[in-house]
């Protein structure tokens, strides 16, 4: 048996039970394990609900199909945003926070009862929000801009969810204190935990911004406040809405480092550089609310320039650093593993059959090339007017949140299920395929929506043929083509998403048990991978010709696309 009771270590509270993981040697505490399981399961459930809504949205926006009637379309679109952008992502992030603290540091989880309270509040909020949306009188879109008003249950449900999430974040901070106090590790926390701390700090800012705007809006919906200023709402709401995506960035970059460590044994190139990049996120990523204010009245240009650029692009610089150090760490490790021929043998001989690795690497590439570059373009003060509120915007954030974050979280799940649920992945052949289906679909969604957006197609719009409008307008034929291709890519992504949910649910319920002696993983970890993820320490010597080539291509693409957009802008009507 591998379940070993170590009893209490320097702790006099209720009995704390640990087991030792047979694959990683990690010490895993029972309540941490149960809470990670609960949050991960809830995450997958809301991914299934929200993903289904997403498919309905894409099939309605495919002009030749136009599946749902208008009322249902706007309702389902509201539900899609809440379920995937908020519930799937934040439940999974809470699981990641518990993993990065309790499991990686080998500590017990602080105040498991509060962690359960957090979980219950989040479930209550998420269920209540779905109820409010499906009832039909809260079709206000995920952003709920006033003066359009939802039913008060809608705002209350988001507040309850946010309070729960905030408690979860503080359980994470408490666990860090416990681990330090009980000396379960020595020196500084590992890089992955450091990244999780970054995510948690941003989460506190985010959830506070959400409370500051949602509580008055809730009181307004109850009639206690007469009006909500529309500009102020937008500014503060996006302090939650955009910053919550920065939690994702910090979390999924931590996951990139973790998977690279566990699957190919990668160490950070240098601890100092990677941690410095995370620090830049803490300092500057919160300014992103400005990205939603560039086409609004009432903001000065200097305010826009400072904020939209995250203070001279220091947070963009941080992402570019991770864009070098993550593939660089993989290349250095693979060369150490013996794949030294040519520029790219380290990459071609990488474990592409392991869904954790393939998902992680596609997430890295697509987050950089699709989500990252387009984010900078959209966030440039003058260029924003070309694309503001067109479907280019959903194109951009499906590149970050779906192809980036969601794919990384899926990849991580292929490691979490065997290690934390102690069940192996059922049907490995299908699992190998899953990240490619979902990744290619998600990449397609992003690119085709951006293509349609450059042709002016509006976001959140039921009928671009404008059939019922008094004054007709005909979009270019290319726009219809792009929306059709978007629908097809959505079917591909939904197939990959469904496969993911089925694989994970089946594995958790009926996967081969891994708690017996001599059990083997379908997708093995790298020897010493577990050690790498919890170790500090930089690669001493390395050569990275492949990574240098990759980042050179990235930089060239970035610069080229940046100037192409300025060229488009200069052809616009004159603003003087």
């Amino acid at each position: 048996m591998t379940t070993i009771d170590h009893g209490t270590v320097g702790y006099t509270g209720p009995q704390v039970r640990y087991r030792t993981c047979p694959f990683t040697g990690r010490r895993i505490e029972r309540s941490a394990e149960l809470l990670i399981r609960a949050n991960a399961v809830a995450a997958v459930v809301f991914l299934a609900v929200g993903g289904f809504f997403g498919l309905m949205v894409a099939l309605t926006r495919w002009p030749a199909v136009q599946l749902l009637p208008a009322e249902w379309f706007y309702l389902v679109l509201t539900g899609h945003g809440a379920n995937v952008l908020l519930f799937w992502i934040i439940f999974f992030e809470i699981a990641v926070l518990y993993f990065a603290s309790a499991v990686i540091l080998g500590s017990r989880l602080a105040t498991p009862r509060f962690a359960w309270l957090a979980f219950v509040l989040m479930i209550a909020g998420a269920v209540m929000a779905n109820y409010a949306v499906l009832k039909g009188d809260s079709t206000v879109m995920f952003t709920s801009y006033p003066p359009m008003m939802a039913e008060h249950w809608f705002y209350l449900s988001l507040i309850v969810f946010a309070v729960g999430a905030l408690i979860g974040v503080f359980v994470f901070f408490g666990t860090l204190v416990v681990a330090k106090d009980e000396q379960t590790y020595d020196g500084s926390v590992p890089l992955v935990t450091f990244g999780a701390i970054t995510a948690a700090i941003i989460a506190v800012f985010t959830l506070a911004a959400g409370a500051i705007i949602l509580i008055p809006t809730w009181l307004w919906s109850l009639g206690f406040i007469s009006s909500i200023d529309t500009l102020m709402y937008k500014l503060v709401w996006w302090g939650m809405g955009h910053s919550s995506q920065q939690i994702n960035v910090a979390a999924h970059i931590s996951i990139w480092y973790a998977i690279a460590a566990m699957v190919v044994g990668a160490k950070p190139l240098s601890e100092k550089v990677s941690r410095f990049a995370f620090l830049m996120y803490i300092l500057f990523l919160q300014l992103a609310s400005a990205h939603h204010m560039l086409a609004e009245p009432g903001m000065s240009s200097s305010w826009k320039i400072i904020n939209t650029s995250y203070m001279m692009y220091l947070a963009v610089m941080a992402s570019m650093i991770h864009g070098l150090t993550v593939p660089g760490a993989i290349e250095a490790a693979q060369r150490r593993n013996g794949f030294t021929r040519g520029m790219f043998e380290w990459l071609t001989k990488a474990p592409w059959g392991n869904p954790a690795f393939s998902g992680m690497f596609m997430s890295l590439v697509m987050f950089g090339f699709i989500g990252g570059i387009t984010g900078v373009i959209l966030g440039t003060e003058q260029l924003n007017v070309l694309m503001h509120n067109t479907i280019y915007v959903p194109g951009h954030f499906h590149g970050t949140v779906v192809a980036g974050t969601t794919l990384a979280f899926m990849a991580m799940t292929y490691i979490v299920v065997p290690l934390i649920f102690q069940r192996d992945i059922i049907w490995p052949k299908l699992a190998k395929l899953q990240p490619y289906l979902f990744g290619i679909g998600a990449g397609g969604i992003s690119l085709f929506m951006m293509g349609a957006g450059t042709l002016g197609v509006p976001r959140r719009h039921w009928d671009i043929s404008l059939t019922d409008a008094a004054i007709p307008y005909e979009f270019a034929p290319g726009a219809y083509l792009m929306m059709g291709l978007n629908g097809m890519a959505a079917i591909l992504a939904a197939t990959g998403g469904l496969l993911f949910v089925v694989l994970i649910v089946a594995s958790v319920l009926a996967g081969p048990k891994l708690d017996g002696p001599g059990a083997k993983l379908a997708f093995p970890l790298h020897d010493g991978g577990a050690q790498a993820v919890s170790e500090y320490g930089s690669e001493p010597h390395f050569k990275l010709p492949g990574t240098i080539m990759l980042v050179s291509i990235f930089f060239f693409t970035f610069v080229l696309y940046y100037f192409v957009n300025w060229k488009y802008l200069s052809d616009l009507w004159l603003f003087n």
């Binding site: 540091l105 509006p458 719009h461």
Partner: protein, 184 residues
């Protein structure tokens, strides 16, 4: 068992590798360039969105727009007001003030402008937030009730240009359109 001790406790004292340092410098300089390019465009570019904004009472704004439309509406030979698809057509004086009202669910009125002449646009909403999206030019500006946004626009092409709404404004959102006609 506990976690492995760090291989180098003083990780912050390690030297930075040359590759990483070079990339950091490139990324930093590119960021500085992009930052100053936004500022530079205010001097070298012709597409800088005006920030001139006033608080306005939505009802008052609707009155202003109606006054403007009455004054400059286009009359046909028989003296009857002309329209485009049922929307009153207005021909404001060159270089003058132009009002566009976003409301559930139309952009009102229809405008006839002259190419290469500048106009002072007044944009606001009578009710909810709307998204002014001029097509196929692709100029996209948010419109808030209670805020009057004033910007100068000079059309550089002739033809009929559609205005669609790209901010969700309720169940008729996808029927909200308008038109700007630009003539020589």
């Amino acid at each position: 068992m506990s976690i492995n001790p760090p291989s180098n406790r003083l990780w912050w004292k390690e030297p930075i590798h040359g590759i990483e340092l070079a990339w950091i410098i490139i990324a930093f300089l590119w960021g500085v360039f992009m930052f100053f390019f936004m500022i530079a465009w205010h001097f070298i570019g012709d597409q800088n969105l005006s920030t001139e904004t006033y608080r306005v009472n939505p009802d008052k704004f609707v009155e202003q727009v109606e006054e403007f439309a009455n004054e400059y509406q286009v009359l046909d030979a028989s003296g009857a007001p002309m329209d485009i698809a049922g929307t009153l057509l207005v021909r404001p004086p060159v270089g003058g003030d132009v009002y566009i009202l976003g409301r559930l669910w139309e952009w009102w009125p229809a405008l006839e402008l002259k190419k290469d002449q500048s106009y002072r646009f007044h944009l606001s909403s009578a009710d909810w937030q709307h998204g002014f999206s001029l097509q196929p030019v692709n100029i996209n500006i948010s419109v808030h009730p209670g805020y009057e946004h004033i910007l100068t626009l000079t059309p550089t092409q002739t033809g009929d240009f559609g205005i669609v709404c790209n901010e969700f404004c309720g169940i008729g959102h996808h029927t909200m359109t308008g038109i700007i006609r630009v003539v020589e």
